[in-house]
């Protein structure tokens, strides 16, 4: 007998976790790129 509420938790929670994690990674990549680009710019100006 399937525990449907558990299944819904797995599906919704799992999908949300995947999405949030990848969104977090996207944010980190974007932020990291900007920081590195600023460092490179400062080095070039210095």
């Amino acid at each position: 007998m399937t525990d449907w509420s558990f299944a819904i938790q797995i599906a919704l929670g799992g999908f949300a976790l995947v999405f949030i994690l990848l969104a977090m990674l996207a944010g980190l990549v974007w932020t990291g790129a900007r920081i590195l680009s600023r460092i490179a710019k400062n080095k070039a100006e210095a």
């Binding site: 399937t2 525990d3 449907w4 558990f6 299944a7 797995i10 599906a11 919704l12 929670g13 799992g14 999908f15 976790l17 995947v18 999405f19 994690l21 990848l22 969104a23 977090m24 990674l25 996207a26 944010g27 980190l28 990549v29 974007w30 990291g32 790129a33 590195l36 490179a40």
Partner: protein, 447 residues
Amino acid sequence: MFGLLESGFQHLYWGNVLMLAVGGLLIYLAIAKKMEPLLLVPIGFGIILVNLPLGGMMDYQMQLESPSSGTVVSIDQEEGTRFDRDTILITLDTGPIESPVFGRMEASMVAVGDRIEEGDVVAQLITQEQTNQEEYPTTPIGLLSRIFKYGVMWQILPPLMFLCLGAMTDFGPMLANPKTLLLGAAAQFGVYLAFFLALIAGFSLPEACSIGIIGGAEGPTTIYVTSVLAPHIIGATAVACYSYMALVPVILPPIIKLLTTKEERKIYMKPQLRPVSKVEKILFPLIATIVVILFVPSSAPLMGCFMVGNLFRECGVTERLSNTAQTGLVDTLTIFLTLAIGASMPAENFLQPRTLLILVLGVVAFASAAGAGVLLAKLMNVFSKEKINPMIGAAGVSAVPMSARVVQVLGQKENPRNFLLMHAMGPNVAGAIGAAIAGGVFLGILG
């Protein structure tokens, strides 16, 4: 006559013949149609090997224990005879002893009239079935059964394959446009839709997870998750995953055309991506590993191996390791893994209604993954000044690089100026990360 009655002919039945044809078909598709030949040739040959009776390559030995005490009234199966699951092998005065697996009787350990106690070993069976090892432990006695047990069931070969895939993956296009990570995430919708549909179809929770992960379109991830959660359907899920990866040029275009307008398909994306520095490419595997594994510890074998392979590629000081991972190691692992996967499909296991259901759910998983990626791309265009061509969302189905190539071809058909390959590679590789995370989530909950 010349021992023909002791040969495989005695045990050959229509199911074996049909599976020999299936194996032949996969080999034909691989060689004549060039569909994923590195995978389908050994899988097809493994199917042929396991369906030639008495070959022994995928045999497991199992000791059958008596579920109750009693006196042996009759031995209902002769040594060497083939039987199906739940066949009565021995009858006691207290009830029958049925076989929990299909296979053949290697030796009977009791005789009529013997008094046996509960738990006594009454017979030695030979089977090709993947059993729950806690309930029915088996010992591999064939070449491929040993490779399967110690390579696949011990979760060694799939993560190492993922290491090699990491060494072959360039995250540059994704790093140049990190929004594409969201498209890879959206494509994991196919995993969870297939998971739900599998439950509705009557599969158990672990089986539904193993079927759902087909939608991640990553062979090693599918094999890894299935080997932990539902090893008895590993053949079907692996064949579904690898076959549909080869069929991406057939599956994706109708989905894309259904969900986009001609104008949307013509949206031009500048071919030049932002240059990505070496430091970014080195930092990404490190940071992704730490972040993902802290949140989803059970994704460690997949994510860890994927990212260390990528670090070998990008750091610039481990060229030998990267080259080995991209060439000799991946080829060796492919041979072992795919032969073993092919050999996990004896007719008795594969020719069941649930196998057809798994194949249908697999294509639903792929199609819905592509659809979800396209729809999210369209939604992103509502909020974004610089429009993205929504077709690249379909490349979130992480059959790398086939999905991206399909999008490239479709894009050029609609607008010959459009060069979408590098843009599509972003969601393509992001989908691989998403699949590893989705697999880790399933394993964390049910593993």
